[in-house]
Amino acid sequence: MMDGFSRIGETLVGKVRLLAIMVLGGLVLVIIVQAEAVLTTGEAVNRSMRYDIAMNGLNGKLDAANALERVSRFAATGAPEDAQAARLFHNILLSRIDTWSAGAFGNFVASSPERVALLERVRAQVTSLSPLYAQIEDPGVLDEIRGTLAEAVSGLTQIGGQAMMSNLTEAAEIRETLRERQRFQNALVMALIVFGAVLLAMMSFQARGLRLARESAERSARKFEQVAQRDPLTQLANRLAFDAALDKAIVEGDAGAGQLAVFAIDLDGFKAVNDMLGHAAGDSLLVSVARRLEEIVGGWGGDGLVSRLGGDEFTVLTRVPNGAPQAKARAQEMIDGLHAAHGLDHGNIVVNVTIGFALVDAQTVDADAVVQNADLALSHAKAAGKGRSQVYDASMREDATRRQLIEAGFSCALSRGEIVTHYQPQVEMATGRIVGFEALARWRHAELGWIPPSEFIRIAEASGRIAEIGEHILRSACRDASLLPQDVPVSVNLSVAQLARADLPGRVASILEETGLPPERLKLEVTESMVMSDSRRALATLRRLKALGVWIALDDFGTGYSALSYLRDFSWDELKVDRSFVQTLESDAQSLLIIRSIVELAQRLDISVTVEGVETPSQCALLRRAGCRVAQGFYYGHAVPAGELAGQLLRSFARVPLLEKPDLLGKGA
């Protein structure tokens, strides 16, 4: 759309440009015509200024009259000076006639043959008087002069009159020309004004166009900025806007408004909402959560900022004048507020949220660090149980650092052999003989020392290294077992990542071949939860493993769902009863009953049973009475390195006659 606008703008500007060029061309044309008009007018004016024959004509008439008058005066006075004057004026008249015959006046006379003839007649008459002027004292001559002169004066007056008429006509023509020119020039000036006005109008139009284009560009820039700073779904600030606001708030400092607090908020079970009700419902829930958060944060006053970083991760930035306790209270307020049912088109949904929060103190100047702290607190809150809030403390960062250290150390640990396999014996309770070992991973970190398996296995699972570690343990267990003096089996735990790989049976087979361990001496342990996630595939893989001759054990039996259907769907070789039953054996009569039932059930299904976590003689006694045969736990020994196995094994076998060789396969107990 923006594109369309700019295109329209471009064509408009193009048209206006063309018009402007045309108008300018018109303007230039008008100016040229105007210049030409001025030139023509100038010519007319010049013509009007040219020699004025009227004046010459008038003076000629006067000269003629004067000549006659001087002669008459002499006739009256007879004075010699008047005779002299008469002669002078005769000469002046002759001179005038010469003037009328040459130059501009000559041209005027020549324009009419009658006028030429008339002037020639007058010239002849006046010239003929010249000899007579010498005898002017003679009265007869004087009369002749007066007679002839009177005729000549009449002719001269006629020509002089004509000159004046001609001059008047020409003047009238010139006036008319000038008037016309003036009208024409007025029209040109009007045209100039019109062109100028059009040009001005176009310029202002173009200026308006440019202004509109600029405004449109500014608008789109603002919109883009908004888009860049907004989460499109909830219209909350996005990560960019949140980071900017946090940076700004940190730079501004406390300013008496209280410490800055960053809350990291996570919806519990949001994935389930998405999976079960669809993404539309998930989105509606996010919007509802967003509105409610804004409502809650708005209620605190001040300039709190709610943002959505993505998924179901929300953050709240606010100032807490009363520090951590107030932040905690506000976190609880949000948990409670968001827990109230969200009325969506899909029905009411109740969600729990978990909140981690961190305060900005004098030491914290890094916005990223604050957000990380809040996230760490959130992780801890989640780990501790959902629907609660947790403030960040420095130990969390230590944990995180340790976790990073552990995660980064896996590659080295495997290549340097820091991760080793230890073995915990499984003992036949009746005889005390060792009937098997469980392989357990142990890691002595170069910096951190011994790392509990529960810790690094979890990290390995999260970081995707567990399959590697699992295979490493499996290989070393097979090799170590193959070197034992007795043919006791070894149990190895499988991880969900290993089980998910379709080539697991092939890899197990090649390890067995590589180490020379007979398949029936390898027990692979899986938990119920591992099978649950994709049970059809998992069970298929287990069947292929079983087909190799490997034993398959169900670990931690009795916890989780303990769906008995799994006992039907797969022919397990062994059940390992979860240690939680053993631990409560002495205090809870139910536990004993459950173990007895499991043992009985297993016997009927022809599955052997091992109990884990046996730590005391009384536990041992109770379990034996419950029908358990094989047990594992500290009471019988901790996990030890492979090197000690042979000794342990030989010692345990030494307790009983060799003839009473234990049923190593543990079946038919």
């Binding site: 010049n46 040219r50 002078l88 000469n91 002759l94 010469d98 130059g103 501009a104 010498a134």
Partner: protein
């Protein structure tokens, strides 16, 4: 005899005509008065004027066919000579024609009081004895009614005002 008498009369007439048209050497051709040195009118004969030096203008005029060569005295030289104090001249011709000439024209255009044209002394019949001449060809701007009217011929008197 009658024819002889006629012949004699014709000869006498010719002499008198010649005498009337050719001025005597001591005849006054120009009088200058008004605001000049001494405040008394000064008369000039042709010889007086010629004594002030000869200037020359070649130009066409509205009153002649073809270009003419005029010779005479420079008006500014003449004004200097009489010690003129004013800023304009009134000029009067033999036939009482009257015109006014700004004194500044004399300097600006080199105005001439011509007494000779194409080598011949100007008679009354030739618009003499003095003819005010502007260099119309050299300054085309002068070719208009105003300057034509200042170009007085048969000049007789100048009054400095």
């Amino acid at each position: 005899m009658k024819s002889l008498r006629l012949l004699c009369a014709g000869f006498l007439l010719l002499v008198s005509v010649l005498a009337s048209s050719v001025l005597a050497d001591d005849a006054v051709v120009l009088t200058i008065d008004g605001r000049i040195a001494g405040d008394t009118a000064v008369d000039f004969t042709l010889a007086d004027l010629q004594a002030l030096g000869v200037e020359r203008i070649e130009t066409t005029t509205p009153w002649h066919d073809g270009a003419m060569v005029f010779e005479g005295v420079s008006l500014s030289r003449l004004m200097e000579h009489v010690g003129a104090q004013g800023d304009k001249l009134t000029a009067i011709a033999l036939n009482d024609f009257y015109t006014e000439i700004p004194l500044s024209d004399a300097e600006a255009y080199g105005v001439l009081l011509a007494y000779r044209a194409n080598g011949s002394i100007l008679t009354v019949r030739d618009k003499g004895p003095l003819f005010v001449i502007y260099p119309f060809d050299r300054y085309p701007d002068l070719r208009n009614e105003l300057y034509y009217s200042r170009s007085i011929w048969q000049l007789r008197r100048l009054t400095v005002k």
